[in-house]
Symmetry: C2
Subunit: 320 residues, 2 copies
């Protein structure tokens, strides 16, 4: 495996995922298009296995591990969809998995990991706590670490989503994805610039977790301030490899307010009748906040996942 993801490695991951990952549908909404004066196409990875695109990277990576690498199982740290994806992918490949999760992770996420056959290892809810526990488990078990985004194989897997999307819709003026650690946008950008070089690739990020925005526009990898955005899937630091890929393949990164994220999330629930996580709403929030950038354009948006705590919806929150 090369150290950098390429179009070829994305195509190879697509072959590996064939018949295993769902070919997720693309949805549109006439009324939404009228309102925004643009043609939006939504790639519904909320319907993907484990309810998120993360299955693509996890399965394609784990199933391509060498016999030696997978001999003692896999380990990762995650409070979200990546942990569930690794647990399911490992079960499918027939190896054990350990998922390091903060002790205060939502019960629903823990249940998800368990139901897919993963073993949960609790840790302190800090970056340091996660990393030292990960190290610990890896040493004790010999399990191979599957990173959430800063990895060529994982990025190649995530890139299969845009490849599939382009096959479904053909031409697009703009392709958008949200940015957390940057794995999805990296794979997306490589795939799009190979298949449709004229298509702009734009990332969208919460203003409250704007390290990718600052890194991209300054040219230096910036650190993340403690991230309190509602888009919980995007509370990750931009990875080094994604940062490099952004510099070559990504056209722009836009930041959006929390208010716009909640508004966009509700708009998609009401118009598309589908359940999406707050993270998915971030590119749509960018369409609301920068309408002149999208007017009259055909815009592809990757809806990254649908794992939402239905007891705590943002518009039902009591103020405190």
């Amino acid at each position: 495996m090369p150290l950098e993801p390429t179009f070829d490695s994305i195509q190879h991951a697509a072959t590996v995922l064939k018949g295993v990952a769902h070919v997720t549908p693309v949805q549109t909404s006439r009324s939404l298009n009228n309102e925004l004066s643009a043609s939006l196409f939504f790639k519904c990875e909320n319907f993907q296995r484990v309810g998120a695109f993360k299955f693509r990277g996890a399965y394609s990576t784990i199933s391509q591990l060498s016999e030696k690498e997978k001999k003692h199982g896999v380990v990762t740290h995650s409070s979200g969809n990546h942990g569930q994806a690794v647990a399911l992918a490992a079960s499918m490949v027939g190896i054990p998995s350990w998922i390091v999760m903060p002790e205060n992770a939502p019960e629903i996420k823990k249940r998800g990991v368990k139901s897919f056959g993963g073993t949960i290892v609790e840790c302190e809810s800090t970056q340091k706590g996660r990393e030292s526990m990960l190290q610990d488990v890896a040493e004790k078990t010999g399990a191979h670490y599957v990173p959430p985004y800063d990895d060529a194989r994982v990025i190649s897997g995530q890139g299969t989503c845009a490849l599939e999307f382009l096959k479904q819709v053909g031409k697009l003026d703009i392709m958008m994805a949200p940015v957390g650690g940057g794995g999805l946008l990296s794979g997306t950008a490589i795939a799009v610039k190979h298949e449709r070089p004229e298509c702009l690739v734009i990332g969208a990020e919460p203003q409250l977790a704007d390290d990718a925005f600052r890194s991209f526009h300054s040219g230096y990898l910036q650190s993340l301030n403690p991230a309190v955005t509602i888009a919980d899937g995007l509370r990750a630091s931009l990875g080094k490899l994604p940062f490099q890929i952004f510099n070559t393949y990504v056209d722009d990164i836009l930041i959006v307010s929390e208010v716009a994220i909640i508004q966009a999330m509700r708009l998609l629930w009401e118009r598309l009748k589908i359940i999406i996580e707050p993270s998915c709403a971030v590119p749509v929030a960018a369409c609301l906040e920068y309408p002149e950038r999208f007017k009259g354009k055909e815009v592809g948006i990757i809806l990254t996942g649908g794992n939402v705590d239905l007891d705590h919806l943002p518009w039902n929150k009591t103020p405190h």
Copy 2:
């Protein structure tokens, strides 16, 4: 137009709707099937135009009106999806529509009717108030009445959904739909018994609005008690024509508790990642409450609509 819907009239309605109504997708969930020990297929009419199957009956009826019938527009009474469907269908055909709605109808439904070009006429929130206002508007405007369910043309339009569903999935052991006024289940039963006579057709109804259950099992059309079920789309009295059709074509009607409806609704939100109204959850609630009836079977379920008030979800209700 014959007084009774037939397979031919359903097929004709399908021709009329071709290219106008969406061909809605069929979804499945591996984890749900494992849990229920059955194979469930969900026909997603929540993705239909206006967010509900009601568009099928409204458009096919209105577009087939004679020049004389449609000369002065159309009128109906509805607090729900039928009103929105009539408003949109009338606009598409190029005639005015008046929708009689109770003065306390949710703002979101009123907005829907207006956005589709309908004129709202408010009435008292009683059956009598609705009917006398309907009469009034019809007399003043000369508009043609488009009933919500007790009508051969409307039933034929609703039957197109099952026809399409069977084309998508092929063989089924059981076909299920919820029962309110009975229009959908009537059209469904006629279509299914023509195409797949061996397939059982089962209606599902809230126990709190069990007039169809009592009528079907007693052989006499029974009246509806004041219906307080959470399944707001099913708070309608069974129609005369649907009742007759049930006697010939429907195999059984099951009733379910409110608790099971809420549980089933949440289960579908979580597993399918789609937004469905409480009414849609009623057949799934029947699968939860009568598991022995569905074990090992291939079951088709029509998900009727996705118009939900996101500010008042049943599991977020504060007790009072």
